[in-house]
């Protein structure tokens, strides 16, 4: 057409193309798009280092020893029938649950003590008590191993000074279990302490004053103000610590290597023994995946509770 407004068939109108470019630009400039693009490198990293290995482990756990045949869940059923693995489940639960309870309890007491120490002194004590947590675990566990040595250890020397016979710390099943738990508690308590200390500092002072005027004593303040106000932090710390403690490897590997008589094996050390040392990678993968459903289930409910409480008490 002579007026120059005709559009050849099959060619996009200049106006539509401009509109499309405009909408693309708007899409690229949208906050959610920008946010996603900024997060993309991290998402790719997580996909590469977490999601892919996790799915690969699930795939491996369903293969036979030679990794040639798909065997479904038979690795898991085989494991459940083995006495050693039953011991591993028991020891892992005993190790993780006892350690977490002790860490939470001692951490809570230390946090309270710390909270009541005045400013500068508190900083010094806080720094000192954090030392176990910042020393590389393998190194500190090696030191503990020396201290548990049956012939030349510090502990036995002290016992001998009081006329008590030497104790084979890492040589007898239940004592060795006690030792692994002790080292884990020593290492993990500062984390609880620092988390609880932060939580304690965030409880408004006026709530304690109101409780004091309402007639509450120290214990009542603890049960009716402190603990309810700290429930979220306690839940998250316990969950986090439970996951990490169930996955613990260094302490048991260095102190006992799972012995004596497999009595101190936890999932990680047993998975290493079965999968790497004995060359049965699918079975090792099955061991390492064993706690995943239980922990995922626990994490779901704990985090749901945390979200609910946060909504309830947020002001």
């Amino acid at each position: 057409m002579a007026d120059g407004t005709s559009i050849p068939i099959g060619v996009m109108a200049p106006g539509r193309s401009a509109a499309r470019r405009g909408s693309m630009r708007r899409f690229a400039q949208r906050r959610s798009t920008v946010g996603f693009l900024l997060c993309l490198p991290l998402i790719l990293l997580i996909a590469g280092f977490v999601i892919y290995p996790a799915f690969y482990a699930i795939y491996l756990s369903m293969l036979n020893k030679k990794m040639t045949t798909f065997v479904g869940l038979s690795n898991f059923t085989f494991l459940l029938k083995r006495h050693t693995f039953q011991l591993v489940i028991f020891q892992s639960c005993l190790f993780a649950i006892t350690s977490v309870i002790l860490k939470a309890l001692i951490g809570f007491i230390l946090a309270h003590l710390m909270h009541n120490i005045p400013g500068k002194t508190q900083r010094i004590w806080r720094g000192l008590l954090l030392v176990p947590w910042v020393i590389p675990l393998a190194m500190s566990t090696l030191t503990w191993w020396w201290m548990f040595d049956p012939s030349y250890s510090a502990f036995n020397w002290i016992l001998n000074q009081f006329g008590i016979a030497s104790v084979p710390w890492l040589g007898v099943g239940w004592i060795a279990r006690f030792c692994t738990i002790t080292v884990n508690v020593w290492f993990g308590t500062p984390f609880f302490m620092i988390m609880y200390l932060a939580a304690l500092k965030s409880v408004p002072e006026q709530l304690y004053e109101a409780a004091a005027i309402d007639g509450a004593g120290a214990l009542q303040k603890l049960f009716f103000v402190t603990l309810p106000m700290m429930r979220n932090i306690i839940a998250i710390t316990v969950l986090f610590s439970l996951i990490v403690t169930f996955a613990d490897f260094d302490i048991v590997r260095i102190l006992t290597s799972g012995g004596p008589q497999d009595m101190t094996h936890v999932f990680a050390t047993y998975a290493f023994q079965v999968g790497i040392q004995s060359g049965d990678i699918p079975l090792g993968a099955s061991v390492s995946l064993f706690m995943f459903p239980i922990l995922a289930f626990a994490a779901f409910f704990v985090l749901r509770g945390v979200t609910q409480r946060t909504k309830e008490i947020a002001t």
Binding site: A210, D214, I313
Partner: protein
Amino acid sequence: MAEVSVRKVVKEYDGGVQAVKGIDLDIADHEFVVLVGPSGCGKSTTLRMIAGLEEITGGEIWIDGDVVNDVPPRDRDIAMVFQNYALYPHMSVFDNMAFGLKLRKFPKDEIKRRVDEAARILDIVPLLDRKPRALSGGQRQRVAMGRAIVRNPKVFLFDEPLSNLDAKLRVQMRTEIKKVHQTVRTTTVYVTHDQIEAMTLADRVVVMNHGVIEQVGTPNDLYHHPTTRFVAGFIGSPAMNFLPCRVQDGANGGLAVRVTDTLTVPIPAARADRYGAFKGKEMVLGIRPEHLFEYHEQGKPGWTRVDLPVDVVEPMGMETMVHFFVDGAPVCARVDPATHAAPGELMPLTADLNQMHLMEADTGKVV
């Protein structure tokens, strides 16, 4: 219900800073006393010492005939309402109000009866099952008051309870607090920095400054007969105008106040005896904005005309505030909104000198 006495009470913090410097105060049974003053004057510290939340460095606090210096807060039988409510966020409104009674092992039906009664007085019955998060600021403040009421304590303590509310709600809650006190008649000590709150609520107002009590009196007393320049300036809104001046001989054998070379006003005859002794001394003339108003041809004894150049005009609907400068000192007049006032113009005003105050320039003492 009880009397409260504060005797020579001192509060000194580490480093020797004295927040309260030996104050004396007697509060009668059923009385509503408001401690008012600027930030850092020691009013909240005094209240917290009465509550037992701050240790006393010196002196004695008596509640209902007993010295309570070493008695912990829970055994003082007091209830306190905090500025930011201090409601337990994890408890429902009912549990918040019932907490003190539960700790004191009251029977369940008695707890329910008291909470319901307090909720009815405060009009919060529908809120009893809610958590504090689901309440507005005003509702939270009512719950905090409910928590105090259910205990039926000897003394109520309020620590700036309305400071976190918006202006409209503050006025509404002020009336509620007054109504509650008229109903329960518990001895009340109330802290605020808002002098209007103090004037409207109090049986007696205690004005504090720099850790000492400046003046104690009824709201009318403080307004009409302040004893210091601080009280005169603190009570009343807008604040009293202060003009440096000198007392000198006036016309017809009377006295006059010379403010500037061009502004001298006669002292009413009734005050001549009182002010005669200060002739020739450096003084400060105090006059409230409401006693400086539009010029009336038909004057009254004690009224005098002054002409001042208008600086700023603030119409407020029911009245207009007109601001001037007299020899560098700001002066405010409260005039009828119909009066013409334009910046830069000279405005004729009437000063009601029957209401004037004269203070010593060095001590600030009203003479």
